[in-house]
C-alpha cells in the first residue's frame, strides 16, 4: 500500500486538525483500500465515525478531480429518515472544506420533478434506499445515469442482508456491476457473528468458484456497556408481558437519569407501560410515547422535544421508528425479553454517542422465564457474543419483481440476465429451472393451463429477447416496487361517544394514528382497548377508519399483547438451556427465581442442555403434556398444531394447546401417563421428524398464517396490487382476496412457484418450520420424560397462559358451534 493512498490531501488534514480531531485508523484503512480499487466491509459499533469512513474516499476523489461529471457515489441505507440526516451531516464538512460537492437525497418522498432533474443533471453524491435503486436501474436511461459511478456505500448492511429488501438490493447491485464495473463497494455494518458472509455478500460472485470477498476493516471495539437487570423487590410474575410490577422501580430509574429511552417489543406493550408510568407520575416528569402507529405529526413532535432536551423519558417500540437525533440519552431501559444479543447491543448502542463513556442499560424481565433470558443476554453482551442471523437468499417473489423491472429498462436476453443474477450473492444458487419458471410467471402467470398467453406481459422479439408487452406495465411496476408489505391499516379517529338515541357524528375528530386491520377485526363494537396512551372504545368502523371515543374505563377489555415479532434467537435459546442445566450459572439469578428452579429440581427435574423435558400430569379433569423446547412461540405454535393432530389420530383426544416463547402445553381427555406407561403412546414417535411431512402439509392447507404469508409474496411478485388508500374498500368486484386465490391455486397447482415462495417464507417466518425441524433433529433420542401426579413448577408460566391466548384461525367451526351450543344451553336454562 503506497503512502499516497493512505494519506489524506492537505485540505482534509487541515479540516481534521482545526477541529482538534485526527482521522481514525479504520477511516484511513477504508480510504486506502478503496484507493487501490478494492471493495471494503467496515465493521464497527455505532458512534465510531462509520459514516465519515464510508464517505471519505468519495469526498477526497471528488475534491481533486471528478466533480460535476455525473453521479460519482451512491449511498444506500434502509432508513428513509436516515437519508435526510446523512445528507445534512455530510454537507457540513463539505461546506467547511469548501469542496463544492453536490449532495442530494432520493427517497419515496422525493417529488417526480426533482427525480427527473436528478436523472438529467445528477448530483455527485446521491443518498437513497434499496427501493429507489430498483427504480433507477429500471429506468430506460439507467446506463447513462450510472456510467460515471465510482463508489457504492451500503449502510446498516447487517440489517439489510437479513430481509427481502436485502435480496432486492443484491439484485440491484448485480445490475450496477454491469452498468459501472469499476465502482467499488463499501459496506458499513454493526458487529456481527460472521463478517465473512457480509464480505462475500458485498462483491460479485462467480458461480462454480469459491466465494469472492471484500476486504475487512474492523473499527475500534466500543466500551462494554454497563447492563443491569432489575432485581425487583416485588414478586416477578409467573407469566404475562405487562411488566406492571416494575413500574415504580422504572419510574425511579427515570428520575435519576437525564433522558431515558424505554424500549418495549410491541406497540400495545408501549401503550400499557406509558399509561402505567403516568399513573405513578407524581412529579409530572415529561414522559412521551413513540411508536410507528402514531400519527406522523405527533411522532415528529416527540422527536423534536427529545432532541431539544425537553423530555425525561420516551417509551418506544423500535429504533427504526425513531428519528435519528436522539438527544442526550444516558439510560436505555429494555422491557421484556431482549430476544437476541445483537438486537440488544444495537438498542443499547444507540444510547450514548460519546465513545469514551460506556452506555448504560437496565433490563426489566416481565416474567420469570424472561429473567433467565435477560441474564444470558447480559452475559452474551459482556462477552461481545453475537447471534448469527440467517441471510435472506433466493426469494422468488423478489426475483419476479426484479425481472419485470429489467424488462422495463430494456428488452433482455434470458441467458445474459440469468448469468447476471447469479453473480449476486443472494441468488448465486438460483437454478436455471427456477429462473425460467420465474420468467414464465412474470410473462403469463406460469400456469400449466395456458390461457393467458394473449395477456402476456413479456413478449419475445425477433432477436431472442423478451420485451415489455405494454408501456402501462412500466407504470404498474413503479407503483409496486419494493418488498415491504404493510399489514392493512385503518385510521383511528377520535369522536364523541353518541348520547342515547342520537346518531354518531363521524366526521371531524382528531386523528390518533393507524392500527392493523386484523386487530380491529378481532373486536366487537363497544370493546375497549388502549391506543395512543388512552383507553378508547370502538364506536364504529367506516370504510378505512375506526371511530373511537374516550372512555372512563381504566381496564381495556381487549387483551392487547399478541407476542413480539421476533422469536428468541437460537443462540440465546441455547444459552438459556445451558443455564437451566448448570446450577453454577444460576448463582447470578435473583433469589425468587433460584427458589423456583430449586423447586422444579425437587418436584420434577431440570434437563441437561441437550435434552428436552416432557412432563405429563393430570389436573382437574384433564391431562396435560408440557414440553420445553425454547424455540420461540411461532415454532411452538406449529409444533402444537402438529402434535394435536397426531394425538387426535392416536386416540388421546386432545382438546387444545397453548404456546409460549419457552414451552408448549397440550391438554387431553385421555390419561397421558397411562397411555405412555402402557406403551400405547410413544413420545419418540410423537416427536418424530416425519410430522413435517403430511401432517404439516395438511395443516398448512387451511392455515391463516400461510395465507398471510402468501399475500405478501403475491403482492411483491406483482400478482395482486397493493391496496392503495385511494381505492374504495367496498369495491369488491375490483379485487379478489388473496385468501381465495390461495385456495384456488393450491387445489389446482400445488407446485406453483408462488406457493413455493410462500412456503419458504413461512418456514422461516410465521410457522418457523425451519426452527422446528432443527428442534426435532436435535432432540432425537434426547427426550427426558417425567410422569408426574401434579403440575410442575416449571410448567406454571405456560399453564397460566391457558385461556388468555387467542386461538389462531384454525378453529372457526369450533367457535361457531360453541356459540350455537351456548345459546342452546342458555335457552334450555331459561325455559
Amino acid at each position: 500500500m503506497s503512502q499516497s493512498h493512505s494519506s489524506l490531501p492537505q485540505s482534509f488534514a487541515r479540516w481534521f486538525k482545526e477541529r482538534g480531531w485526527r482521522p481514525r485508523e479504520h477511516q484511513l484503512a477504508v480510504f486506502s483500500s478503496v484507493g487501490t480499487g478494492q471493495s471494503v466491509l467496515l465493521v464497527a459499533p455505532t458512534g465510531g465515525g462509520k459514516t465519515l469512513a464510508g464517505f471519505l474516499p468519495s469526498l477526497v476523489e471528488l475534491s481533486t478531480s471528478a466533480k460535476g461529471q455525473g453521479l460519482h457515489t451512491l449511498y444506500v441505507s434502509p432508513l428513509k429518515a436516515l437519508a435526510v440526516d446523512i445528507a445534512r451531516n455530510l454537507e457540513k464538512p463539505v461546506a467547511e472544506m469548501g469542496l463544492g460537492i453536490a449532495i442530494e437525497t432520493r427517497t419515496g418522498d422525493t417529488p417526480p420533478h426533482k427525480r427527473r432533474r436528478q436523472r438529467s443533471n445528477p448530483p455527485d453524491i446521491l443518498i437513497s434506499t434499496p427501493e429507489q435503486l430498483a427504480l433507477m436501474i429500471a429506468d430506460p436511461h439507467a446506463h447513462v445515469l450510472f456510467r460515471h459511478l465510482r463508489v457504492v456505500v451500503l449502510d446498516e448492511l447487517h440489517a439489510l442482508v437479513a430481509s427481502k429488501r436485502g435480496a432486492l438490493l443484491s439484485l440491484g447491485l448485480a445490475r450496477l456491476a454491469r452498468l459501472a464495473p469499476h465502482a467499488r463497494r463499501i459496506g458499513l455494518s454493526a458487529t456481527v457473528a460472521r463478517p465473512d458472509m457480509l464480505q462475500a455478500w458485498l462483491v460479485p460472485q462467480h458461480p462454480g468458484h469459491t466465494l469472492a470477498h471484500a476486504q475487512l476493516v474492523t473499527g475500534p471495539a466500543g466500551l462494554v456497556p454497563e447492563i443491569t437487570i432489575l432485581k425487583s423487590v416485588e414478586r416477578v410474575p409467573w407469566s404475562g408481558h405487562s411488566a406492571r410490577y416494575s413500574i415504580g422501580e422504572i419510574y425511579d430509574a427515570i428520575g435519576k437519569s437525564r433522558l431515558a429511552l424505554i424500549f418495549v417489543n410491541t406497540r400495545s406493550q408501549a401503550e400499557v407501560i406509558f399509561q402505567e408510568l403516568w399513573r405513578v407520575n407524581d412529579q409530572t416528569l415529561p414522559i412521551a410515547l413513540h411508536h410507528g402507529s402514531l400519527d406522523v405529526a405527533q411522532r415528529r413532535k416527540v422527536e423534536a422535544a427529545m432532541a431539544a432536551g425537553r423530555l425525561k423519558a420516551v417509551v418506544a417500540t423500535s429504533t427504526l421508528d425513531l428519528g435519528v437525533d436522539w438527544g442526550d440519552v444516558d439510560l436505555v431501559i429494555n422491557i421484556g425479553a431482549p430476544k437476541g444479543s445483537s438486537r440488544l447491543i444495537q438498542r443499547i448502542g444507540r444510547s450514548n454517542h460519546r465513545l469514551d463513556e460506556p452506555s448504560r442499560a437496565m433490563l426489566v424481565p416481565s416474567n420469570r422465564f424472561e429473567v433467565l433470558e435477560c441474564e444470558v443476554a447480559r452475559m452474551a453482551v459482556n462477552e461481545g457474543a453475537q447471534d448469527s442471523e440467517r441471510m435472506t437468499v433466493k426469494k422468488l417473489d423478489v426475483l419476479a419483481q426484479h425481472i419485470l423491472g429489467m424488462a422495463v429498462h430494456s428488452p433482455f436476453k434470458p441467458d445474459a440476465l440469468y448469468d447476471e443474477i447469479r453473480s449476486s450473492f443472494a441468488y448465486r444458487e438460483l437454478t436455471r429451472e427456477e429462473f425460467d419458471r420465474t420468467v414464465e410467471f412474470v410473462a403469463t402467470g406460469g400456469y400449466t393451463l395456458k390461457t393467458y398467453e394473449r395477456y402476456a406481459k413479456l413478449k419475445p422479439t425477433a432477436d431472442g429477447r423478451l420485451r415489455l408487452a405494454h408501456p402501462r406495465l412500466a407504470q404498474a411496476y413503479r407503483l409496486n416496487v419494493g418488498t415491504i408489505v404493510e399489514d392493512e391499516m385503518l385510521k383511528v379517529r377520535l369522536v364523541k361517544s353518541p348520547r342515547a338515541g342520537k346518531p354518531l357524528v363521524s366526521y371531524g375528530g382528531r386523528l390518533l394514528g393507524e392500527v392493523e386491520e386484523w386487530f380491529i377485526n378481532s373486536m366487537s363494537i363497544g370493546d375497549t382497548f388502549i391506543f395512543a396512551g388512552e383507553v378508547v372504545k370502538l364506536e364504529a368502523v367506516e370504510e378505512l377508519t375506526a371511530l373511537v371515543s374516550r372512555t372512563r374505563s381504566t381496564e381495556p377489555a381487549v387483551p392487547s399483547y399478541y407476542g413480539g415479532k421476533f422469536p428468541l434467537s437460537t443462540y440465546l435459546a441455547r444459552r438459556v438451556r445451558e443455564m437451566l442445566a448448570d446450577p453454577d450459572k444460576q448463582r447470578q439469578l435473583p433469589a425468587q427465581v433460584r427458589e423456583w428452579l430449586g423447586l422444579q429440581r425437587y418436584a420434577s427435574v431440570l434437563p441437561a442442555a441437550d435434552e428436552m423435558l416432557v412432563e405429563t400430569f393430570p389436573r382437574g379433569n384433564r391431562h396435560y403434556l408440557v414440553c420445553y423446547p425454547f424455540e420461540g412461540r411461532l415454532a411452538h405454535q406449529t409444533l402444537g398444531m402438529l402434535l394435536t393432530r397426531r394425538l387426535e389420530r392416536w386416540g388421546a383426544q386432545p382438546m387444545g394447546f397453548v404456546a409460549s416463547e419457552y414451552a408448549l402445553g397440550i391438554w387431553t381427555v385421555r390419561d397421558l401417563n397411562l397411555l405412555i406407561s402402557s406403551g400405547r403412546l410413544s413420545l419418540a414417535r410423537l416427536f418424530d421428524q416425519d410430522m413435517l411431512g403430511d401432517d404439516l402439509d395438511a395443516w398448512l392447507a387451511e392455515s391463516m398464517l400461510m395465507k398471510r404469508t402468501f399475500r405478501t409474496c403475491a403482492i411483491v411478485a406483482g400478482l395482486i396490487e397493493r391496496r392503495s388508500t385511494a381505492k374504495e374498500k367496498t369495491s369488491r368486484q375490483m379485487t379478489v382476496s388473496s385468501d381465495l386465490i390461495y385456495d384456488v391455486l393450491r387445489s389446482h397447482e400445488p407446485n406453483h412457484i408462488l406457493l413455493r415462495a410462500a412456503w419458504d417464507d413461512a418456514a422461516e417466518g410465521l410457522i418457523d418450520a425451519r426452527r422446528l425441524a432443527e428442534l426435532l433433529a436435535r432432540i432425537r433420542g434426547k427426550i427426558l420424560h417425567r410422569a408426574l401426579d401434579r403440575i410442575s413448577p416449571l410448567s406454571v408460566p405456560v399453564m397460566l397462559e391457558i385461556g388468555r391466548e387467542p386461538v389462531y384461525g384454525e378453529a372457526n367451526d369450533a367457535l361457531l358451534e360453541e356459540t350455537a351450543r351456548s345459546l342452546i344451553n342458555e335457552a334450555a336454562g331459561s325455559a
Binding site: L473, T735, I741, V744, L745
Partner: protein
C-alpha cells in the same frame, strides 16, 4: 314470468347423501328451503337448486389488466356446482344472475370449461337469470334465459327489490357475509340472509368477495325486522339472529 309446478316430495335415501351433519331447513312463505354448505339453496318441493353470483371468468378479467391471477376459478366453481348437483340430484338449476363476470367472459372461457357448462345444461333443466354483470350470456351455452322467474309463491331475481310490495323473493347480487365474535375472535363467513319475506343468497363463485350483512345495502332490505344469517362453516351451517351478529 314463468311458473314452475310443485313436484312430489323427496325420497328419504337422498337425505343420507347430504354432506353436512345436520341438514338445516328454513321456510319462506311456507316453502321449505335447505341451505347447502356449498352456498347453494335446495328447494325440495320443486326439486330445484338455486345458486347466485357464480362470476365465472372473474380471474381472466384481471389477466386482461395485467394481473395474472390463477385461471382456475371457473373450473373450481364448476366443480363445486357439479358436486352439489350430484349430492342433491335436482331436476332444475336456477342461477340468480351474475353467472359470468362480464359480457366478454364467453370469449375468454376455456374450451373444456365451456364443454362442462354445456354438459350441465344437457343433463338438467338450467335457467340463467340476467344480472348486472352479465346482460349478455355466452352463445352456445344452452339452458334458458330469463330476467325473473317464479318458483311457486317465490319470486327469483338477481337484484333484490327495494319495495317488495306483495312479493316474497329470493335474490342475489349482494354477496352477503356475516361475522360473529366470541372469545376475542371474530369469525366471518359467507352467509344466507333470511327474513320473513325475502332471502338473499351468498355468492357461489370461487373468487367472489363479500359484503357484511350489517352494511346498509343489506340491513336496510330487512327494515326493522330481525333477520337470520345462516353462516356457512366448514362442516355445517349455523343460523344466528341478526341481534347476535357483530
Amino acid at each position: 314470468m314463468r311458473f314452475l309446478r310443485k313436484q312430489p316430495a323427496v325420497s328419504s335415501t337422498r337425505r343420507q347423501a347430504l354432506p353436512d351433519r345436520r341438514p338445516v331447513r328454513l321456510r319462506l312463505d311456507g316453502v321449505e328451503l335447505e341451505p347447502d354448505i356449498s352456498g347453494a339453496l335446495y328447494v325440495p318441493d320443486y326439486h330445484t337448486l338455486l345458486v347466485a353470483d357464480l362470476h365465472l371468468e372473474k380471474g381472466s378479467s384481471f389477466a386482461a389488466r395485467g394481473l395474472h391471477i390463477p385461471p382456475y376459478d371457473t373450473r373450481s366453481t364448476l366443480t363445486a356446482l357439479e358436486t352439489v348437483i350430484k349430492s342433491r340430484k335436482p331436476d332444475r338449476l336456477i342461477s340468480l344472475g351474475d353467472s359470468f363476470h362480464d359480457a366478454k367472459a364467453g370469449e375468454r372461457l376455456d374450451r373444456d370449461d365451456l364443454a362442462r357448462l354445456c354438459r350441465l345444461c344437457e343433463t338438467i333443466d338450467v335457467c340463467w337469470l340476467i344480472g348486472n354483470h352479465d346482460p349478455v350470456l355466452p352463445s352456445g351455452l344452452g339452458g334458458r334465459i330469463a330476467s325473473e322467474i317464479a318458483l311457486g309463491p317465490l319470486a327469483l331475481r338477481h337484484l333484490p327489490k327495494t319495495r317488495l310490495g306483495t312479493d316474497i323473493e329470493i335474490a342475489g347480487h349482494l354477496h352477503p357475509v356475516a361475522s360473529i365474535s366470541r372469545r376475542g375472535r371474530r369469525v366471518t363467513s359467507r352467509s344466507f340472509v333470511a327474513g320473513s319475506r325475502r332471502l338473499i343468497m351468498p355468492a357461489f363463485g370461487a373468487y367472489t368477495g363479500g359484503l357484511n350483512v350489517s352494511a346498509p345495502e343489506i340491513a336496510s332490505l330487512f327494515h326493522e325486522e330481525t333477520f337470520t344469517a345462516w353462516m356457512i362453516g366448514r362442516r355445517a351451517i349455523y343460523g344466528f339472529s341478526s341481534r347476535l351478529l357483530d
